[in-house]
Symmetry: C2
Amino acid sequence: MTEQNGNVTMEQVAKLAGVSIGTVDRVIHNRTGVSEKTKEKVYAIIEQIGYKTNIYASVLSRKKSYCIIAVIPYFQIGSYWELVYNGITRAAREAREFNTEIKIFYYNQFDIESYRAACKNMVDARPDAVCIAPIYKDETIRFLNRLAPLTIPIIYIDTKLDGTDYLAYYGMPMFESGYLAADLLVGNDTSVKKVVSFNIDGGVSSPNDSFLKRHIGFQAYISEHNPGCEVLNCSISPVDFMQDIKICDAFFEEHPDIGHIVTFNSRAHLIADWIELRNVKNKKFIGYDMLKLNMDALRKGFITTLIAERTDNEAYTATISLLNYLIFNEKPARQDNFSSLDILTRYNVDFYVNVNTDKNTRR
Amino acid sequence: MTEQNGNVTMEQVAKLAGVSIGTVDRVIHNRTGVSEKTKEKVYAIIEQIGYKTNIYASVLSRKKSYCIIAVIPYFQIGSYWELVYNGITRAAREAREFNTEIKIFYYNQFDIESYRAACKNMVDARPDAVCIAPIYKDETIRFLNRLAPLTIPIIYIDTKLDGTDYLAYYGMPMFESGYLAADLLVGNDTSVKKVVSFNIDGGVSSPNDSFLKRHIGFQAYISEHNPGCEVLNCSISPVDFMQDIKICDAFFEEHPDIGHIVTFNSRAHLIADWIELRNVKNKKFIGYDMLKLNMDALRKGFITTLIAERTDNEAYTATISLLNYLIFNEKPARQDNFSSLDILTRYNVDFYVNVNTDKNTRR
DNA sequence: CTGAAAGCGCTAACAT
DNA sequence: ATGTTAGCGCTTTCAG
């Protein structure tokens, strides 16, 4: 334990530049009311002696506070969007000590009007930064244009809108996640002639083409490696359990030979329920996302493999990167941040349970 | 942007507890010279109003500095221990702004004398905390006993020593990583009659039983699921490339029927080199760890699957948790922290390249 | 346009 | 055993 040595401070900069620390502060933060001449002089000194602002002093003395708004679908407990919610909430707790509040505005992902309302509320609330799951593309662009003149940083999660101006994107590589699923499910086993994909039918067609991209990735692999294999589709309901059982019964009565199942959405556990109920054996079944119900089904062997990002953490990181931008003026290392594609089986699933909540941060 | 509201401060705690802030500071930091009675009172108030120390004020005013020593094997570029080194170094950079220095002491993992020397130097340097890869069990216990009276926090990485006193352990679940490998490599395919495991022979038998645990896990799976399958062993050198080629040639000349390979150490790429050189097809090959050479071999198809932890990040987290303990008196959430067992194939490997270096932290 | 000064909440040395 | 106080380096208000 030795004594601290002196870092370069604003005071030293001020002294060398022959101005007060108030002026140094003004030039550092691009505030108005400094002559070009002194501005240049101060910059020169800063460069010369390598001054870096001390974030601890900065945060401590800062009075300004920020408001970040997240716009996401509302969700049922145990669903994919709850994981996103958890991540944002975790970030919100940390943001508080930076005097920044994170508000979440929810919408119904199957109702464009609801999305519009959430966006309108968001714009009206005059946020300093926005984190949004932009499921409706055109609507999003319209609202973000209203924000554009304010140069507010935008982060996309889950889905990204190419061609728009955004600070960063965090999400899973959907095409590749489908491609990977095909490799794990059928590979180049040409004895597999048919595969079934169970899709959620929300009553209306989902505005989100994420699952479609996954489907396309899956099909791409099949076409390249196993062109003799056919991918059938079957729709189930996210809410009507009894109905789903009947649908599965009917489907497999008609196709008793199909031994390979995939779900491109996060509700693999719905099919797992049928597998458990009917005591079905010898079907290979791959699904997505670390929902608790999915992980349970994986442990019990009703799901063979899960492909998953660390959703909670992705949402957390996305939100925190907004905070870093506001407070430290620091941009994410990359604009597009693709999650890893973790492969979970019954033999490694237990080592993923804390993966999201464990902090990997100072403090 | 609204005005800041009041967080709970030490001053409020002091007022409510009827003491001065100096006393509150004393109890928070377990300093001497506070009566049990006031200590309890202060704790009660802290609990009640939910006081959390403001790290910015804390860091800003702190004058003390710390020294953390890490003791690890030295390494060749591109090897497993380089990943560990990277993680520690990354933590060291962050530690600097907390006035704590992280020194790394190296040893030759195949030379117990070298380990002794590193440990002696470590003890002599009087560190405030230690992060160690305790490859030699008895030696480690001897040295740590010398440290014990000082109640210095110890963190184990890679290997842990049960029955000793340690703040935390970070590492891969070795048995399970072997068990998983067996499932991925042979599963219950009873047509697989033989598997070969290539082991590194360092000239002396490794003091480290990590790989042995992996081997045992692998064998356990085979015994349970595929008892007709035999696991052969073959030794290669970590340094003599030409020799390794000959060994592989000879082995597969003798066992042309073996189509399943595993390496329990991190040098899968050595065998991958042979596979590439001899243009070998149709062998399933599983290895460990995200070494660049392994990932390259995976991309090219010479390795089928890699099982890996995020080594860099594990080392980083281990070191940072020591920092958190010293600076914030905060213990890790769990004592034993097992890494996830990430399964990498050529189809998801690209989404793991930034997994280690990406920061998931504020700032 | 620029300077002076009062904090931000905590630490640590110095008093009592 | 406890209280008091001078900073830590920066932000922000208030004066010029």
